[in-house]
Symmetry: D3
Subunit: 232 residues, 6 copies
């Protein structure tokens, strides 16, 4: 079960097994919160990962890249590995807030069919990225540029914002954050998540009509048993 | 004068004394910055409490709830205590950034007449909440869900983002932050705040016409007395 | 070469040498990221300086002000020193997140011709500031007001968000952050930055057409030499 | 139940009801973690409050002081209110990390019989304070000094590091943090806490002998019922 | 290569393959910085993981545990899986700073032969832990206790402070931080690290004698080639 | 007065004007807090700069070095510029927490006569550094190593932790933090600081004897005038 992350600097894996396309699309429509719940409340990147503009909701299969602080050389290597429907997931070997990505790389990524970028670092040209409609989830925004001098790797397992992402995994990103679903589990999780979602419509209608969650979820009895006391 | 915060876990206070409705409305129109000044520069929650979308400006009477990390059970108990014009103020017994609140609870809160939520934790479904027009001031956004297993309390005094909030107090929240006005002081503070506000219109006109604050506030003499020196 | 920052409390320098107006305008059109690159990847304020609303892109000559925590008295002194085309740069003698600036001061600054404010502290009335179209880059937003009791200085060299700003320097601020260009270097930097920018249009077109950065920048050979390995 | 915190700037309350001395001493011997548990897992200041040196464990009755950022004038006013066995608890009206307290004030506080200081801000002269054996729990260390210009209050209820402290409450501080026990509850909490402590000695001996908590606390059955699975 | 982290809640793996004992000991003597360099500058947990007391330097094989915020139930389950020479590595499913571990659990862990604890959360009873000589690397210190209500897992792969740790991996922890070495690589890394270490003694002697790194590492020529200029 | 910080990458200034040695020694005996007060409450580096071990109090003349994130090449260049009595001040062109400095460099710096290091980044081998008695003030500790690939500069003006440091300035560092005194002001500041210090001994004695600051500083009248009210 061991995942040897080391000894993999300077490696580009060309053939990766991408999650089922339909499952990835399905998960994207459900959103990060529902997907995370369907997985058993795991699978989220840390909440400091925020979208550079509001309203985007995307999903795709991960092309991963491991970068070193202040160096975005491997982003160009990663671009070549992008296939339509992919989302690039960029991890850092140590914390760095520089702007590793801007409008030129976004132009290239879009030309390759990328749906977005998730990067555990900074990004720049954010106004233009918003105009281009290329969504990015990042740790922050910074005009600080990077150099191109150090090898990292592409399509190896990476830890991005506290979550393990394997190449080919499904990424679901929206205003609530970013979820990752292992490729092999995508179809199953989509099914479970859809069931959750199906139940929500009815619940929403009842709550909108004034029914209390206390009654709808039958909470009064367990609350009383736990010792809840009402006073005046 | 002692406020015993302990020994109150698992308690729901049904009858609370809400601040005067007209005073609450009045304070809401004046905004958090003006209200805080009128109170003598106190009464603000910490500035990390930010709105999930720009432009909302609301006021209401506090229904308070004390939650435990990772557990939103008491939000459902709080829902039942909401009356039209209330704002729910959720405090945590220890720091937690999970998403305690989403669109289903918002639907329920809105159906009960709540004007918004102030929560010293995370929130999710933020895009839908913005579409619903249900404003939330929170410590952050997180897709991470919570469980329903531990008793907290409703309508006890709580400390939310560094401020003491008693049930029934007036909450004023806008893009600048969140202010809390003790219920008994609401009318008086509204009056003082209105006087500040009345003076501002005239000041704004004079400043817009090019009059300097140095002259309008008669600052030149005290600045000179304090030792200010102009050099070329 | 020594810049004596001390012994300057309580000083207002009236005559400062402002950078060339045309160069300042030129730099503003190029944006903070391009300008920073043209300077040799230096000259940025720390990335925690964020705009209070998205989309503003301004440049101007710096009027500097050194404030003490919780005290905005010198902002009024600074207002008098503003000339059309200036941007006020406010530094703090110690960290403070209070709201030092609101709509009244903004009205005054605008009347004097200021293009914006860069402040290493908090700001308030942000909704009104956005409506007024007065851009501010700040460390945060806070409704907390300040007093007027302590002397600072105006138009002395200051360190704002980690960058040295001399009065008259060019400030370039946009959604990516804030850059400062020494007045004496403005024209030269604008020229270098423009050359960078000129090259970008062609690059963008090629990348949009599907050309890879790997090929456009001739990276394949240096990557191989550095030891990059492709595996299947 | 309302605690009006406002309208109290510039007030010094001379006669406060201090918690029972014996109970305070008793709680101090038990430590902050045990006391917090005995209170039902509440009553702790935020964990960013750290001792300036390791190994101190003190308790005392609170003399409270509300300070404004950058201004320690009221510390001198508070000094006069100190009685032997007190601990000064200093809250700030807004966040500030300056060094509000040093060896001169410590000399004065010690002469009055203070057992320590808990301050939601910075402190300085820490090496000398350690040599003097005057323990301080603070948000940080800073050589930055303060001025003496603004009124605060002494012996009003304050919120210090997220916890409500009323004058006279018991403060328990050690390397694990700071707990506050309402004066009226001190004796009862001490009794409960002592019972917890009494049980710990025996538990410790059994665990040291190799007995597992799984068995000592009879956890195996509830774990199995919750669904725990052992695999090889 | 995929590491399915999900679907593993509520699982305890009893038989794990531990790294070679001798290699683990060897790595411990070399320290986290040398080990990290020998691995190619990877393998470190985030630097916010700090020891609760200075001077400890340990190594051991990882027993991993995944905890939920505010709940340390699984620490007792983990205790049973400890073998002499192990270090427990505790990861959290979401950020939490509570004190998950104190002197009673430490007594149990020591009785089982554990060499230390690495936990991405808080810890308490730190004075006693220091007296016991049980080293802990944690995110912080907090007197806040936890409950025992939610299943996690033991001996699954976990992400602790940004690093993937598989059960059986070697943990090296000292005042500089915490490194993790995959079990299969332990012997090889120890060998490489020892070679680095062997070279350091001679270097240290030369540097102490006044030889400059510029000369010892032959840096003058590459520096000149890179464009370094000396001015007077 | 302009200090052109740009266009100086890749420069080593060999001849710098160091502050008067006696003044530097004198300031070191007075400590950072007293020196900062004597300068008019300016001149401090940000308080996140902490010593790696307690108890060191040093002063010296600054040899400055500008480093890039993840790259400590210039530290070796700086070593050659050290003269006995210097303190190296290392600034970063962008935020980075890596461990730029360890026992080998410390050995070299000590051999050259350095009194310590102030670095706005991380440091490692801290246990050995403590044993060597080489004090370091840093932003943190990290085992993460750096590379040697990018030019920075030595002995140019730098901004370190928010303060401008010119080569030759006096650095005063102790447990309270780090102060910088411009070389030209060292003697004057030492004199002012000594006067402050001379007054403190007498004050301390009076406070220890129970005299209140209220009386010693004649605060009662201004407090009353400001509106302070005593209640019972």
């Amino acid at each position: 079960m061991s995942t040897p992350l080391m000894n993999q600097l300077g490696i580009v894996k060309r053939n990766i097994e991408r999650a089922d396309r339909a499952a990835a699309e399905h998960l994207g429509r459900l959103g990060s919160a529902t997907v995370h719940e369907a997985m058993g409340r795991v699978g989220l990147l840390k909440p400091y990962m925020r979208p550079i503009y509001a309203g985007a909701q995307v999903s795709g299969t991960a092309v991963t890249v491991l970068l070193h602080p202040g160096d975005n050389w491997m982003m160009h290597v990663a671009a070549e590995q992008i296939q339509p429907g992919d989302i690039v997931v960029a991890a850092l070997s140590a914390e760095c807030g520089d702007g590793f990505f801007g409008d030129l790389l976004a132009t290239s990524f879009m030309a390759r069919g990328a749906r977005g970028l998730v990067i555990d670092a900074g990004v720049r040209d954010v106004r233009i990225l918003a105009e281009m409609g290329f969504p990015v989830w990042s740790k922050g925004v910074s005009a600080k540029g990077t150099i191109k001098a150090t090898l990292g790797s592409v399509n190896i397992p990476v830890i991005c914002a506290g979550a393990l992402v394997n190449p080919g995994d499904v990424i679901v990103a929206d205003d609530d954050g970013v979820a990752v679903v292992p490729a092999a589990d995508a179809a199953r999780v989509a099914e479970v998540a859809q069931k959750r979602e199906d139940l929500e419509g009815e619940k929403r209608a009842r709550l909108a009509a004034g029914v209390l969650g206390l009654d709808m979820y039958n909470m009064r009895e367990p609350l009383a048993r736990a010792g809840l006391k009402y006073i005046d």
